[in-house]
Symmetry: C2
Subunit: 130 residues, 2 copies
DNA sequence: TTATAAACATACCAATTTAGTATGAGTTAA
DNA sequence: TTAACTCATACTAAATTGGTATGTTTATAA
């Protein structure tokens, strides 16, 4: 059970932007500072933008900035933007004909809830670097 | 972020054995009843045995049985036996030179703790089939 | 008006992990 | 002595991850 590096990279980039808030920074700079492959990060930033977590400006001098105050951005939002909905097992939330007879669904439902509670309670502002 | 089918299969097999406790059942029967590929389940049962969650008897008429009362088996034990230690990110628990400066470690530490608390609080007896 | 630096889009690719299958050896009861 | 088991290991196909490559569009500055 692991989150992928997408989540880790995303948290790093977002924490960097939080420290710089409300300034904007290019993905190239972000990538260099956080040691993330530049083109890969670009794609991740695209997902964050589509989920309205950052704004972007194109063209020379452009870049990304947080779309909201870091206190108003939940860690869970960042992670779900990059990895998709939190669901500890494939069947969770999905239709399953055997569901009513499936003992393990209780585990996945309860666990998914706890993970969401944890990740939505934590805010980006809490991850500020020293 | 997903647990693999190993966890799902393991929970199904263990729940089946719990309903049959303290009886023993062959992996072939378990596999058939729970619709799990037989040889794959055999390997999973091996891991459960190595983690002292089931006992096995070899030879004709042999099979597997819970090694303890279902109330005394935590869901987390089953999952960790099959998937390894719960750690939502590769670096969690591992040595990392950058750790002290890593803002996201706070997320993974807290999340890992919550997941463990949830999965060790739930007991196999709670998953009994209707 | 042209060069440059940036976001944005998409196709491709290698490595790793997952979810098995295949084969066979050892063990016990009938 | 054979059938029904556990147990061990090697192999493999499919999916996922973690990228790279290539190119287009957009804005700024010289």
């Amino acid at each position: 059970m692991r989150f992928s590096s997408k989540a880790e990279y995303g948290l790093k980039a977002m924490t960097n932007l939080a420290a710089y808030y409300p300034g904007q920074k290019s993905s190239t700079d972000l990538a260099q500072e956080e040691e993330i492959p530049s083109k890969y990060l670009e794609r991740l930033m695209g997902k964050l933008r589509k989920n309205a977590l950052v704004t972007s400006t194109k063209g020379k001098g452009g870049g990304y900035a947080l779309s909201r105050n870091p206190q108003a951005i939940a860690i869970g939002e960042i992670i779900e933007a990059l990895e998709g909905p939190i669901a500890p097992m494939r069947c969770v939330g999905a239709f399953c004909a055997k569901r009513k007879n499936c003992p393990s669904s209780k585990v996945w439902d309860e666990l998914g809830l706890q993970i969401r509670v944890t990740l939505y309670r934590m805010k980006l502002s809490e991850l500020a670097k020293k």
